[in-house]
């Protein structure tokens, strides 16, 4: 997801009129009618949607009602792009929770090396799991557990992965060879047979 101001091509301190003008310009350019019947119709439609959303967002933000917007209700996300410095992992968690993985990944990769502690490793691992990159993901989760062995959350994530893999292969041939193979059953049967033989006057096991 992009910064709505950059989508519209205006600066953050642009006036209301400038924004309106930029929006009209773009809307005319990407209007679906211009692309009707071409292979690019879908791409254009996407672009148009993006522009509309950005415009709505900016309008709402300016009227001070960002909470209900389609951008997950976190208007602060955008301002944080420009403010470099300390990393807020809570913000990245929020992004992951809302399914904004690409954004979260960009942010996590931009984290300076000095801030890459246990939590950074854990979140990086979560994002890689999301992408299906298990060989890499498991490394980061393991390292998170290593750096912070007492954290229940990291341990839980590691265990979840391990449990998932533990049942592998177990259904294979589970229903075979489960007949009466144990020795107790065998002895019981022999004794029964001996008893029946004795009833009939014979003897299968001479000693009893």
């Amino acid at each position: 997801m992009k910064d709505p101001y950059s989508v519209l091509g205006v600066s953050r301190d642009a006036t209301e009129d400038e924004i309106k003008k930029a929006y009209r310009e773009l809307a005319r350019k990407y209007h679906p009618d211009n692309y009707a019947g071409t292979n690019l119709a879908e791409v254009a439609e996407e672009k148009m949607k993006e522009i509309n959303e950005a415009y709505d967002f900016v309008q709402k933000e300016r009227q001070g009602q960002t909470s209900g917007s389609s951008y997950g209700g976190s208007g602060s996300t955008y301002s944080s792009y420009s403010s470099s410095g300390t990393t807020s992992f809570a913000e990245i968690r929020e992004m992951i929770r809302n399914g904004r993985y690409v954004e979260a990944e960009l942010k996590i990769d931009a984290t300076p090396a000095g801030d890459r502690g246990a939590e950074w490793n854990y979140l990086k691992g979560c994002l890689l799991v999301q992408r299906g990159y298990y060989y890499d993901a498991l490394k980061y989760i393991e390292v998170a557990c290593y750096l912070d062995p007492n954290n229940a959350e990291y341990r839980e994530a590691k265990n979840r992965m391990n449990v998932r893999s533990s049942s592998y292969g177990s259904p294979y041939r589970m229903n075979r060879g489960q007949g009466d193979t144990d020795m107790c059953g065998l002895c019981t049967k022999l004794l029964c047979a001996d008893m029946f033989c004795e009833c009939c006057g014979g003897d299968l096991i001479p000693c009893c």
């Binding site: 298990y134 060989y135 498991l138 391990n162 998932r164 292969g169 177990s170 294979y172």
Partner: protein
């Protein structure tokens, strides 16, 4: 190529074992016919896996088994799969892969290690020469070369993601497994088999060579990913790495498990299930125990009490 993909023999039924051997011997014989007698030396269990999979796709009328004599085991005749399209294709693919590996080694290796690809050159030439009469391999050879080049680029760039390199090798095997299949269902199943098997082989090889590669400063995807945490104080792979490696490899095996369930019923499918559900986990156990994952051709298995149980017991903790 590496021999990581093999059945766990103690839990095969006797007839399944016979059929597996028949496929192995049949493939060897077919390689003699298709790519020349000398090429039989390059046979491995991984190719046998490909042959078994492709044979599972064939119509049952195309698959036959017969007693034959073989020059290596001349004392008594053996039960072998008769030459069929699946075996011919596998022999051709084996020739391409061996040649691809040779070209790759020729580029990457230095010093005495370069002798091996040089020594293989005449054999590969003769294999390529023979195979053209039976199966056109240009398209496949081209695909393999491209993937290996891609892999080599990643390695040269010092890629620190084990996932990316493993994926490229997986895609290479996907090309090999799906080549020549027209039916879309078969293609999808074989593709999944190839991808997962390739990734598994690649990562197992990386794990197997980890210590050597680090000692000799050679590229290793796991060493790149883990950095200083790869080895413990004793110079053995660290517990963290082992645990992560095992869990991630099982994820690939799960993919194979899903694919194997979609195969048509039959004895070959039962063999493939054994390989996927027990043989490959057993390879993992061996590698993690620090033994070479490839126990050699003669020892197809070792009877160790609870060899498979070991895995599950350890996991319950």
């Amino acid at each position: 190529m590496f021999g990581y993909v093999r059945p766990y023999v103690p839990s095969l039924q006797v007839q399944e074992y016979e059929i597996y051997r028949a496929v192995y011997c049949g493939l060897c014989r077919t390689m003699g016919e298709v790519t020349g007698q000398a090429s039989r030396l390059t046979l491995s269990y991984d190719f046998c896996f490909l042959a078994a999979l492709r044979m599972a796709f064939l119509d049952s009328r195309e698959v036959a088994y017969e007693q034959h004599r073989c020059p290596v085991h001349f004392t008594r005749s053996r039960f072998m799969a008769e030459t069929n399209p699946a075996l011919v294709y596998t022999a051709a693919a084996a020739a391409c892969l061996t040649d691809g590996k040779r070209l790759d080694d020729l580029q990457d290796e230095t010093g005495t290690a370069r002798l091996k690809p040089y020594a293989l050159t005449p054999l590969c030439r003769s294999m390529q020469h023979h195979v053209q009469k039976h199966y056109p391999t240009e398209a496949l050879a081209e695909k393999i070369r491209n993937r290996l080049a891609e892999l080599s680029d990643l390695e040269k760039a010092g890629c620190t993601s084990a996932e990316e390199t493993a994926q490229v090798f997986g895609l290479l095997m996907q090309d090999v497994f799906t080549e020549g299949l027209t039916d879309s269902t078969k293609r999808a199943i074989a593709g999944e088999f190839g991808l997962r098997t390739g990734r598994f082989i690649y990562i197992c090889d990386a794990m197997d060579d980890l210590c050597d590669d680090i000692r000799n400063h050679r590229f290793n995807p796991l060493a790149g990913l883990w950095g200083d945490l790869a080895l413990n104080e004793e110079g053995k792979p660290s517990e963290m790495l082992k645990s992560a490696f095992r869990t991630a490899a099982i994820v690939d095996l799960e993919g194979l498990g899903r694919a194997v369930e979609l195969l048509p019923d039959g004895i070959l499918t039962r063999i493939l299930k054994n390989i996927v559900y027990q043989g490959m986990p057993y390879t993992l156990t061996r590698i993690l125990a620090g033994k070479n994952g490839n126990p050699g051709k003669r020892r197809l298995y070792e009877i160790s009490p609870g060899a498979i149980g070991e895995i599950t017991d350890a996991e319950k903790q």
